[in-house]
Every structure is written in C-alpha cells, then in structure tokens.
C-alpha cells in the first residue's frame, strides 16, 4: 500500500474536540429516575393517594373534635352524617377518627417494620455477600432455618412472652421479614463485587469500607428502595390479618385490621362500618403496589435508555 502522509488530509467540519461534546443535559441518577416516574401516570396517582392518606392519618385525628377512645353510648351505630362523617360504632365512637387513627397505626407498623427489615437485611446480606465463601454459606443457612418458621408462630410465641401490643407485632413481623431483604442484598452484592469497576477500585487501593459505601451500596439502593416499597404493604396487611384474627393491636387502639373485624360483625345491619376501613386498606395496598411497580420501572438500571 502506498504511504499516505498526514498533510494530504484536512479536517472538514467538526474539530475533534467538538466531536466529543455531549448535547444532552446532564442528569443525575435520581433526576433521571424522577423524570421517568413522572411520565408514569398510574404511579403518580398512587403516590398522590398515598400522600393524601398519610396526611389524613397524621392530621385528621388531631383536628377532629372526637376522641378515638371515648364513645357516646347514646349515639351507637349511627349512619354517616354531617356530624359523624363515617358514622359511629356499637360503642358510639366516631368512626372517622377511628379509621384515620387506625390508618396511622397501620402505616406506622408498615414503615417501622420495613425500615427494620431494611437495616438488618442490608447489614446481614451485605456482610454475607461481601465476605462470601463459607461465611456466606453459614449465614444464609441460618436465614433458611429462621424462615422455615412461619410468622404466625413467631407472633404467638412473642405474644406469650411479651404480651400483645404494637411492639410485639413490630418485632414479630421484623423477625419474619428481614430474610427476604438479606437474600436480595446478598445476591446484589455477590453480583456487583465481581464488576470491573469494583476491581478497578481495588486496583487503586480502595479498602472494604470504601468499596461498600461508594460502589456497592449506591448501586444496590434502587433495588433496596423498591423492596422497601413492597415491604410496607406486606407488613400492613400482615398486621391487619393478625388484628383480624384477634392477635394484633389490643383494644381500644384501632388498626385497619381490627376495625374491619368489628365491621364484619355488623356487616348485615350496618355495612358502612366495614366499608370505610376496607376502602382505606384497599387503597393503601393498591397504591403501594402500583407505586412500587412505577418505582421499579424508574429505578431499575436495566431499563435505562
């Protein structure tokens, strides 16, 4: 082949430095995720419903003139009216306040349990996955054994020891729930620690702490958040189920489950007593599911364009 010297060529059009320019505006991971979440109408509606329900659960009992504990025995089983928006129960307690108070307790349980699962699960799964080998094997077999026991048995055992109450429910649901998170995080860490950017960090002399905080956690956080979003409704529903069968929050404190339980007893006479708590619990569950789905689409890096 004939030699071609460089001076026979001239650059037409773009200089090389211009060719490297990027036109698209720079978006951080979170800005990009928010942009995608915003375009998902169902997820935004679900998010709005959740915000409204949360605000109502926080503020409705405060601004109401009624108390969720004290009833008026002259006004039992009233139908919804301008005075009692959701009516009253068989002890004459205002259902509007009780439903929102119940929502408050249910949401509190859901969120606390999800956060406990998150903390324990991320620590346990992260350590297990990062160390790997026989330590990992041992830690995961322990999880397997722990989770072969159904949570109902945990609740019954703990109720015997600690007595029934909010605290017992939270502990029982956390014991039964963190394994899922631990397994998820372990799987992610096992996969991520073999990535070349983790090797590059090791080559640069990074220690375990830096690799975990700068490389592993930021790349797992999306999956973790999605998992938390699904853990909240699961915990709420478990609590509702426990309260429904009488193992949950003790009276007079309401929860969405115990309110539904009370409602079923009056179902044939006063159906609205079941309708309102059932509506709220359905709305919460459905919204969390749809919002979680939307979050997954927005955060999952595999769907990044």
């Amino acid at each position: 082949m004939a030699e071609l010297s460089k001076d026979k060529f001239i650059i037409e059009g773009k200089e090389s430095s211009e060719a490297e320019a990027i036109v698209r505006p720079s978006l951080t991971y979170w800005a990009d995720a928010w942009r995608r979440l915003k375009s998902n109408k169902m997820a935004i509606i679900a998010m709005t419903i959740l915000i409204i329900i949360t605000l109502a659960a926080i503020f409705a009992p405060i601004f109401s003139s009624y108390d969720y504990r004290t009833g008026d025995l002259l006004k039992t089983n009233l139908k919804p009216s301008s005075e009692h928006w959701f009516g009253t129960d068989e002890l004459g307690r205002d259902l509007y306040v009780r439903v929102w108070e119940g929502t408050r307790i249910s949401l509190f349980i859901g969120i606390v349990v999800a956060l406990l699962n998150f903390t324990i699960g991320v620590l346990y799964g992260g350590i297990s996955g990062y160390i790997g080998g026989s330590v990992d094997n041992l830690m995961m077999r322990f999880v397997d054994i722990l989770f072969s026991i159904p949570y109902l048995i945990w609740v019954i055992m703990l109720t015997t020891v600690l007595g029934s109450g909010l605290f017992t429910i939270i502990i029982a649901l956390s014991i039964a729930g963190w394994g899922g998170m631990a397994r998820l995080v372990r799987g992610q860490v096992l996969q991520l620690k073999e990535m070349e950017y983790v090797m590059a960090a090791k080559t640069l002399g990074a220690d375990a702490g830096r690799i975990i905080t700068k490389h592993l956690i930021p790349n797992t956080i999306g999956v973790i958040i999605i998992s938390i979003t699904f853990a909240v409704p699961t915990a709420i529903f478990s609590e509702a189920f426990l309260s429904f069968i009488g193992l949950g929050i003790p009276v007079p404190n309401p929860s969405l489950g115990s309110l539904s339980n009370d409602g079923t007893r009056m179902l044939l006479l006063e159906p609205y007593q079941l309708v309102f708590p059932a509506l709220v619990i359905s709305a919460v569950m459905l919204s969390f599911q749809i919002f979680g789905d939307g979050l997954r689409d927005a955060l999952d890096p595999r769907l990044r364009q």
């Binding site: 090389s16 490297e20 698209r24 991971y29 070349e196 090797m199 080559t203 640069l204 002399g205 790349n219």
Partner: protein
Amino acid sequence: MSEKKLEGRKNIIEVNNLKKHFKVGKGQILKAVDGVTFSIREGETLGLVGESGCGKSTTGRAMIRLYEATEGEVIFDGMNIQRLNRKELKNFTKQAQMIFQDPYASLNPRMTVGDIIGEGMDIHGLRKGKERMAKIYELLEIVGLNREHASRFPHEFSGGQRQRIGIARALSVEPKFIVCDEPISALDVSIQAQVVNLLEELQEEMGLTYLFIAHDLSMVKHISDRIAVMYLGAVMELTTSKVLYDEPLHPYTQALLSAIPIPDPEVERSRNRIILEGDVPSPINPPEGCKFQKRCKYVKDICREKAPELREVKPEHFVACHIVK
C-alpha cells in the same frame, strides 16, 4: 515500535513460575495459570496473546495482586508483591494499575467521571480541592476529552470515550506499570486504533511499561516490543514481535499466525492455513506433559510424559517445545 532500544534496561517486573488455581467444587481444581515465567523491562510493552480461557487475564490480575497467587512469585521493582504488608500494598497500587476490558462494566454508573478519575487521588490522599480538579481536567485533556465531561455520568459516553476515562483513571496515580487487559477488544475497529495510539503516546511521554493482553494478533504486533503466547495456562513462546511473526517456532504459534487474514486476495487464496483439530482441553483436568499435545501434529511420546520447559533456543527467543531444536 521495534526500533526502541531495550537492551540493558532493567526489569521492572518479573514473574517466576506463577500459578493460580481455583477450586471449582467436588475437589476439582481449575489450573487457570500453571507455571508462567517472564519479565518485562522498563518502558517495554509485552504482549500476552492466546485463546479465550487460556489464563491471560488471570496472569495479569495476579501480577497486580487482584488475585492471590497459588504458587510462584511476582517481583516488582525488587519487592515480592505477595509479601507486602498493608501499607506497602497500598503504595504498590500507586505504581501498578490496570485498564479493563469492558468499558461498560469498568465505570461505576453512580459516580461522575470526575469522581471516577479522582478516586485514586482520594484513596491515596494525593491532591485535594482545586488541585484535584485541576489534575482531573488535565487527565481528561490528556486522553482527549473535555473538562466539561467531569460532571457527566458514564452512561452518557460511547465505548471509546469510556475506555479513555478508564485510562485517565489508571493514570491518575502516576503509575509506572499498567496491565492493559484486552482494552480494545470491546471497541469498534475505528476506535481501537484511537485507543492504541493514545496508549503509545502516553508510553512515550511518561515512560510507562505495559503488559498488553489481547487476542487480536495484528494489533498486538503493532503495539508490543515482545510477545508471549499462552496456551492453557502456560507460555508456549516468547520473543520479540518481529521474530515471532517472521519465524515462529512453536507449532501453536504457527497455527495462530496462519489464522491472521492477509489483506491481499491473491496471497490469501493461495496460502495454506494450519487448521487445529479439536478444542482447547479443559483447564480443570489438563493433560500430563505438554499442554498442547492433543492438538499438535508433531506430537511424540516425550510430549505426553514431560512438560517442556521454556528454553532460549536463539538469543531472546524462548520456546516451550520438545520438538524445536
């Protein structure tokens, strides 16, 4: 590249009988690297070629202690890198760096390019604040990117750009020795030349030493001063790139070289290719004796009994074969 004077330069890194075995369960052992010996002189580029799975990358990773070697030693600048304590190891990471194969997996998607390049400086506490940013901008410009790119995220870049970010990251700690682990095999042919030229320029300016791992023989010939051919965890032939291409001695090297297409239809049509029979045997149960015996057409009894050692058959020309005299 062959005009570079390499005689008399001292060795920057020496690999002696390096072995890396992995346990793969059921008591089986995968011998990824099984007794590799070579050295690299200061400012030199040693090409390491071979089929996939022959232990090239494992060798490279064991040389910078990403893997703990099972046996053998790696001597860098007079120190045995297997015996370094924590502090010495951290110091070693400042001198030996790596450029990775997959430009899509080698950059953390959650960090800005500036933070990726600055990570080495952060770890070693080399530069802070304005000085750090100035160095990041300088490195970006060295690899042909703009300083505006520092605040961008990796997914906004093309493969070639990402590979150059990986190079800037490796350069950030001012190393002497860089393992290039197939840095171009994931790139388009047009971009390959760009990256290879950049690596050559950097070598000239900074006096870097490379171990260049690849399976593309023509690209390796272009960049390497000497080339080592690996097969199933062992070095088969090691010599200067010119000699290797002009007069390969090992039957495996001859077969490899005959696979390179020649951009001339007349020659291409008439030449005889050496076609190897069979596949590379599994490194889990490698055959006794010579690793290449099962596919070698000159195989003799001695090849099945004894593994050949790497001998210097001519000055600067090492071959591991019983047949070659």
